[in-house]
Structure formats: structure tokens, C-alpha cells
Symmetry: C2
Subunit: 289 residues, 2 copies
DNA sequence: TGACTGTCATCATGTTTTGTGATATCCGGC
DNA sequence: GCCGGATATCACAAAACATGATGACAGTCA
């Protein structure tokens, strides 16, 4: 018997990889979330997360549960949409960063279109920084993007380690500037990478910039250099650089969902989509294999 | 927030059209089931059943909820199967009456095969009476069929009114014997129909017998006569006879799930399939339109 | 018509479950 | 070795739950 509240907590933890953050997002306390997960673990008889106080990771059973939880909560979403019957309509200008678009977002959007056929959805794919700017300028209603360091707003959807990745046989020479593959400004990952290098006084040069993730990936696959990327979103054909490569740590990235200034029709639609994203969750691509 | 316990109760009521029977099947009390349904109705803000103490019927919203509930509980089933990981295997001889086979059973069986690929499922489709006999003879492990009046065993899966149906333009002459379309013995519906007519001293003659439901349907569509059938299972092209046609009432039919003598491997498989049938529920065909 | 039976809704109640806050425990980094 | 940030545990108060008793109501049978 899997209580939906427990599944919600579980899903949020799986997404944020943090009991504390999950609790914050759900409006619960950390101890509650902890209990929810434990209940599920008791009910299944399996451990769902490995967690040694400083790192939370899904187990294989956890991955399976993720699928079940998502399916159940998705139906809950649909049922709610159906019964509240808020005939959501209007135009919704939604901005998403490319990292997400590549993976689970299509599914979520498809389900959303099915549940709310009367919403005209306009999707903008851009750099996270650009999306935030457009949101501020009132050109978007809802944005799913990396969190800007200085901007605490938004519901945490996904937290991940930012790591260095590159082609399999890539070797770095410690004496030479680090060859970087980055988004153009105002890329948030770009800024993080440069900051990290400069803090260590490490020299760098940019070997590729592209506004398109596929452009960056192509460059990285070709072995032109390294790029900073979410650990759980590593595209096929690229690999995390070993720690001994001597590059500085990059910390974490948060993907957040931010609402624009509310205005009438778009607000309901934005709420509905936000709920779908938060509930439907994101598988977000396979592990870097 | 739809609690699974409430959904289970709701589903059981939708299947049995009875709060009392649902409670019995679930091992709960009637008042509990009543509360469960009311909670759901509160949560959705819609009435899910029309019920005037002597008739329970799904509303349109109830039909919708039925879909949601089934999907959620189905995933629960799958999750349970996955985590208990009881690697169910072995041979399972399952008998089902044709009424069901035509409708939702394929879906349930498909899901079952997916969840328990190592079970060799042998399906027997026969008259309910024959299935009961074969079960008693140890030739079947699990049977889904109409309940025999004298046999109280089995979990109630589906309760329905038995009604007279026939072709659209069928007219009956009150002076002449009722033209009957029936299964051969030991058909349970057959017995019920004959009993009802004889109790009223009404003359009848058999115009068609067939061991196959499709045979009966064909005869009925051709306007050869009337047949007794579950009200909610009326096949397309056939219609319930109006009360003023003067035929006697037929009462209710119960479809039950009965286990055979338990023996080893088949027992786990039978339990799993029984759970799937009870949880996955049956849509059981559209209304007779 | 009037008692009867079977059904569902309601209510008070005792019990269980839930969410919480405080606290213990653990790990990594400084 | 200590501190900061993270999860687990525990006791408790509040909420939710299942229950049995009771009431209302509709058909049934006499």
C-alpha cells in the first residue's frame, strides 16, 4: 500500500537528491520526508536510496520505484485536472533550458497537452540565463532552468552535481590552459566553470562556444576540450573526467521552476504545467555510460 | 489526494454495485466503505455514485474515476509484484466464462503475462457450470465465472442485474411461448431463465442453443428470440426489453473468482492472477446502447 | 396497509497513524 | 578535532481511521 504522500516525498527526494530540499519543496519537515521514505522502504522491503548523510543516491530498486511513483502521481495529476475541471485555457509561454528538453520533457509536455488541450503552449528553448532575462522582461510565463546563484526564487525541481566531462580518451596537460567548451554568455554553467578555474588560478582558453547543446556535445565528442555538465545528464559518448585530472570541483546545479508575473489566464495554465513538471518528474536521461 | 484504500473501496463498489458486498470482499465494514467513497466524493467535488438505498449506479464522473482508480491500482499491483519479487512460476490453469473474455479480461491477462512471464497460463473458456465442474474435478486452478446459486464460495468480482435482451424491433406475443435463446446445460443463466418463466407458469420454447456466446448473440440479433444477460454486458446491437414486455424479473448475477484445491506452484500464481483481476477490475464492455 | 428485510448514511468513539520539534548521529571539510 | 550541514530517531499532540450502533429509506410479503 503506497500512500501518495509518501510517493510524493520519495519522488521529490529522487529529484533533488536531498531530503531537506525535498521537504522544503513539499512544505513538509525533513523528518517527515525521512519517515515517508522509510515507510516505502519498509513496504517494499528494499532500500530505495543509499544515503550516508552526505550523499543521496537512488538504488536499483529505487529506480524501479521511481517509475511506479511517477506513473501513479501522473494519474493523480490527470484526475485532479479532470475533476477540478478548471478548463484551463489561454496562452502559456514556457521557457526551458536545453538540458531538459532533450530528455523527459517531451513526455511531460505531451501529457500536459492531452490534459489541457485548450492551452496554447509556446515553448522557448534557450540558455538558462536568457530565459531568466526573458521571464523578468515579461516575455515568458514560466521557466524551467538552472538557478542563478544570486536568485533564490523558484521551486527546486532537480539538483545535481556539476562535473567535468569530455571524450573518452581525452588527456589534459596540466601545464597548458584548459580547453573549454562552453555556452556563450549569459550561460550559467559557463560562469560557474570560469569562476571555478579562476579561483584556482588555472589558465584556460575557449575552444568552442555554441548556443546549442548539440554543438557543444559534438565538440566534446571530437575531443576538442572539456565541458561542465550535470552528472546525471551526461550525454552518450561522453564521460566524466576522473578526479585526478586536477580540475577544480564545480559544486551543484539546481534546476528550478520560476513563475513570471501572474496575469489572469496564463496563471492557471502555469500552475498546471508546474504541477505536471513537479509531479511527473523527470528521468532526465540515462547515466553517463 | 486519492488514498489507495479509498480507491480500492470505490473500485469494489463499482464492480459489485453494492457497498455491503464490496465491504465483505475487502474485509472491511460497510460504514468504512461508505466513508471511503464519501471521501473520494469530497475530494473530487463530484458525486461518483447515484444511490437510493436500493440501487447503486456509477455517475459519469464515477466512470471517469473508475479509469483513474484502475490505473493507479494496476500500478500498485505491478509494484507489489516487482518488490515481493516472488518470481511466480509454474503452470496455472485458469477458466473464465465467455462473458468476461470478450471484454476487459484480455487487458488483465496481458498485464499479468508481462508481470509474471514465467507462469504458463492455460486459459479455458467454457460455460460457468462446466468451469465449476472442472474446478471441482481438479482440472482447473482458478475460475472466473457466474456463481452457482447453491455455492457460496468465491470472491465476488462483479454483480449485475440479469435482464432480458433482444433485437431492437423484437415484439413478443403474450399468448405464445417465449422464444428463448440459451446456453445448453449446465448453463447457469439458462437455469435462471427457465426457473423464472416456470415460476410464473409462462410457456416457453427454445429457439436456439449454443455453447458460444457469439452464437447466441447472432441468433438474438436476427430476432429469433430473447436471451437473459447481464445488464451491463449487453453486446452492441442488442437491447434490454422494456418492463412492459411482461417477462418475469431475473434477479442478479454474481461473477465470482474461485480457487481450486491449492497445490504448490499453482497457488502463488493463482493468488497473483486473482489479485490482478480484483484490482485491475473490469470495464466489462460498454452499456447496451 | 403494516411489519420486515436489506441497504446505505451518519455519528460518537476508541485506536492507529501522521507530522512535528527536539535531539542524536553521522560525514566531510577546514 | 571541531564545525556545519545532512539524515535518523523518538516522544508526543493532532488528525485520520475503522468500527458498531443507530437512523432513514425502499422494496417485499403477508
Amino acid at each position: 500500500m503506497y500512500e501518495p504522500a509518501q510517493l510524493r516525498s520519495f519522488l521529490a527526494v529522487a529529484q533533488t537528491l536531498s531530503f531537506t530540499q525535498a521537504a522544503r519543496r513539499l512544505g513538509l519537515r525533513q523528518s517527515t520526508v525521512s519517515q515517508h521514505v522509510r515507510r516505502l522502504e519498509d513496504a517494499t522491503g528494499r532500500q530505495l536510496f543509499t544515503r550516508d548523510t552526505h550523499a543521496v543516491e537512488l538504488t536499483e530498486d529505487g529506480e524501479a520505484m521511481l517509475g511506479f511513483a511517477r506513473r501513479i502521481l501522473q494519474v493523480h495529476e490527470q484526475a485532479t485536472a479532470f475533476f477540478t475541471g478548471t478548463r484551463v485555457r489561454g496562452r502559456l509561454r514556457f521557457g526551458a533550458s536545453e538540458d531538459f528538453v532533450l530528455t523527459r520533457l517531451p513526455e511531460i509536455l505531451e501529457a500536459f497537452r492531452y490534459d489541457h488541450p485548450e492551452v496554447d503552449l509556446e515553448l522557448t528553448v534557450e540558455l538558462s540565463g536568457t530565459l531568466h532575462e526573458q521571464l523578468a522582461a515579461g516575455k515568458l510565463d514560466l521557466v524551467l532552468a538552472k538557478r542563478r546563484p544570486e536568485d533564490p526564487r523558484g521551486a527546486l525541481v532537480w539538483r545535481d552535481d556539476l562535473v567535468w566531462i569530455g571524450a573518452e580518451r581525452l588527456r589534459l596537460d596540466a601545464d597548458r590552459p584548459v580547453p573549454l567548451i562552453v555556452y556563450p554568455p549569459p550561460g550559467i554553467t559557463r560562469a560557474r566553470a570560469l569562476q571555478a578555474l579562476e579561483r584556482e588560478g588555472r589558465a584556460w582558453r575557449i575552444v568552442c562556444t555554441s548556443g546549442s547543446l548539440n554543438g557543444l556535445i559534438a565538440a566534446a565528442r571530437a575531443g576538442l576540450g572539456v565541458m561542465a555538465h550535470s552528472r546525471r545528464l551526461i550525454p552518450p559518448g561522453l564521460f566524466r573526467l576522473p578526479d585526478r585530472s586536477g580540475l577544480p570541483g564545480l559544486g551543484k546545479v539546481d534546476f528550478v521552476l520560476v513563475h513570471g508575473r501572474r496575469h489572469g489566464a496564463a496563471e492557471d495554465a502555469a500552475n498546471a504545467l508546474a504541477a505536471a513538471v513537479l509531479a511527473g518528474g523527470e528521468r532526465l536521461g540515462r547515466r553517463g555510460d
